[in-house]
């Protein structure tokens, strides 16, 4: 087996990869907005969060890379499409609708927080320490994004309608954040300590904010055997995003950039 296959067959590594790939692709798709945000100050904050997400992905890839002997960029850029563990929500195209992009990021940030909390309790000391740092930075995103949700909620109907519409769109895909990234993991009741508990913690935290802002979003926990992006069955748009992401790097394989 290659080092890459070793990593991909490892249940713990798959959990880390799921989060890392979500953050990588979230940072990647948000990259479209840098320089084009609706308000200069928001644009700047959005780019900061994208940098955090990308560097958090890098921190996690470096952890895996050290363990399995693979370069972090090779993990990020050079896997087969089916070996990316990101869920269908992160890569959902926003079609330059800021409401969709905002809600997508808000939902993922709310998901990353409890997952990082669990990883900080990992037996793997290196992973736990890295995740503690990431958790602190993701908390800042949550504060910022929740504040925006409140402001939009107390704003005029036009904005409220757009956000509610985006929440409805996102709700159709949000459950797949809970997709178990590896078939073998399904048996061990993975995602650290109980899938239902994680789902409840995640959705409860979101609902507190939504209720206060006057929005709603409900979706069920998908069945254990539901499969999509995390198990490698990515939507067509992920293939396009991946092609774009790797375009330069793959144009001259082996080159240093």
């Amino acid at each position: 087996m290659t080092t890459m296959q070793n990593m991909l067959k490892n249940p713990d590594a798959n959990l880390v990869l799921a989060l890392a790939d979500d953050l990588l692709m979230l940072g990647h798709v948000q990259g479209d907005w840098t320089g084009l945000g609706p308000i200069l100050e928001e644009d700047i904050a959005s780019s900061s969060m994208a940098q955090d997400d990308l560097s958090h992905a890098l921190v996690l890839y470096e952890h895996l890379g050290a363990h399995f002997g693979i370069d972090a960029d090779v993990i990020a850029y050079e896997r087969d499409i089916a070996d990316y563990r990101c869920c269908d929500l992160v890569t959902l195209p926003d079609e330059f609708d800021w409401a969709v992009a905002f809600v997508r990021r808000w939902v993922i940030s709310h998901w990353a927080a409890p997952v990082l909390d669990r990883l900080t309790k990992s037996d793997d000391q290196d992973l736990a320490e890295r995740c503690l740092r990431l958790r602190a930075e993701q908390s800042l995103h949550l504060t910022y994004l929740d504040d925006w949700m409140h402001r939009l909620g107390s704003g005029p109907d036009e904005g409220r309608t757009r956000i509610q519409t985006a929440l409805d769109t996102i709700a159709e895909h949000a459950g797949m954040v809970m997709e178990v990234p590896d078939r073998d993991l399904a048996d061990i009741e993975a995602f650290c300590c109980g899938r239902e508990e994680l789902f409840n913690e995640w959705t409860t935290a979101m609902n507190v904010v939504l209720e206060h802002a006057g929005f709603t979003m409900t979706f069920p926990l998908p069945a254990l055997d539901a499969f999509g992006g995390r198990r490698g069955t990515h939507a067509p748009h992920f293939h396009e995003q991946h092609a774009e992401m790797t375009e330069v790097r793959c144009a001259d394989p082996g080159a240093t950039w």
């Binding site: 798709v29 945000g37 609706p38 308000i39 990020a76 001259d252």
Partner: protein, 339 residues
């Protein structure tokens, strides 16, 4: 990137209160910084506004060509650095719009004028960046040129603009370093990378030499823009400094300096080695073939390879974001119909 503010300025101070004008000019001669609440000639206020607004526009339009490459950056570190770099440029725009606002024009008006084509931005952003190596060239040559220009602008007389230049220049230095590192990496790389870098250099060398604007008017030191220290160095002298710094650096990297013919898309159709580009031992200056100034003015008037695309993208962003501004600030205006 970005911004040399080099809008071509004609200023007529003859209609000002001559006593106040004399005091104003003596303060400037004494090196006193002018603050927003101070008396200033109307022509100075208008000139500084035009300059700061043009510079702010350049920052946020300058974010566009590089912004388009964030999603294609070939490593995580480059992706992070490029995101941070483009974010800095947006931040420069934000700071410079604030300087401009204090001179009497609202941000909303400035953004609207930019995306309706009423106001301009730096000419160099009307050229295409079709490869990753172009991003390296923009950060190396254009940010390099911007630093040279902005260092002299930081020596100007208008307090808020001068302080903003000091802050911006620290970040521009990082952009330049990153560009230098990218160019060096590419030129130490594969055959393909070197070829791609030479092609990008061919596209950007001309716009970089033109960066500082056309030849100065005779006696420019005694005309208002320089006399009032809105700018502190002539275009010709800045351009010479740029060529002295970058021509030998390019040759050291193994690049060839060409005189290029380009098509309407800004792509090179033919090129010859620039025979003028060598060190004059007696003056210590590097020569360079004088750029095609007809092209410069053609591009300024809106007929460059990417003018329409850049303005359309700004307009798209402005229109897409209107509801968000209304949602949190209320009452932002909409655009008039597209021209």
């Amino acid at each position: 990137m970005s911004g040399a503010a080099n809008p071509v300025m004609t200023i007529d101070p003859s209609e000002e209160d001559q006593d106040k004008l004399a005091e104003f000019e003596s303060r400037i001669a004494d090196g006193v910084l002018i603050e927003p609440g101070d008396w200033m000639p109307q022509a100075y206020r208008m000139g500084m506004l035009r300059m700061a607004e043009h510079h702010a526009n350049s920052e946020i339009v300058g974010a566009l060509p590089e912004g388009e490459w964030i999603t294609r950056a070939p490593s995580l570190r480059r992706k992070l650095a490029l995101t941070a770099k483009v974010q800095d440029e947006v931040g420069h725009g934000q700071m410079l719009y604030r300087v401009s606002q204090d001179l009497g024009k609202s941000r909303e008006d400035m953004l609207r004028d930019l995306c309706t084509g009423k106001t301009k931005y730096h000419n160099c952003f009307n050229y295409p960046a079709p490869s990753w190596a172009d991003i390296a060239m923009v950060q190396w040559l254009i940010d390099g040129a911007a630093i040279m220009n902005q260092k002299t602008l930081a020596d100007g007389a208008y307090g808020p603009y001068v302080r903003t230049m000091h802050r911006i220049n620290m970040e521009e230095a990082f952009h330049f370093k990153s560009g230098e590192d990218m160019v060096l990496t590419l030129m130490s790389g594969t055959k393909k990378q070197k070829a791609m870098t030479q092609e990008a250099f061919d596209r950007w060398w001309g716009p970089s030499v033109m960066f500082f604007g056309p030849h100065d008017k005779p006696n420019c030191e005694n005309l208002p823009p320089m006399k009032w220290r809105m700018k502190t160095e002539s275009n010709d002298s800045l351009r010479q400094r740029f060529v002295n710094r970058f021509a030998p650096a390019a040759l050291d990297l193994g690049l060839v300096i060409h005189v290029c013919q380009k098509d309407e898309h800004g792509m090179v159709t033919s090129k010859t080695v620039d025979e003028q580009c060598r060190l004059d031992e007696t003056t210590g200056n590097w020569g360079v073939t004088d750029p095609d100034w007809d092209e410069f003015f053609r591009v300024i008037r809106g007929n460059g390879p990417c003018n329409a695309h850049r303005v359309a993208l700004r307009r798209f962003s402005y229109e897409q974001g209107a509801w968000v501004r209304r949602a949190i600030a209320g009452g932002a205006t909409t655009l008039p119909p597209a021209a």
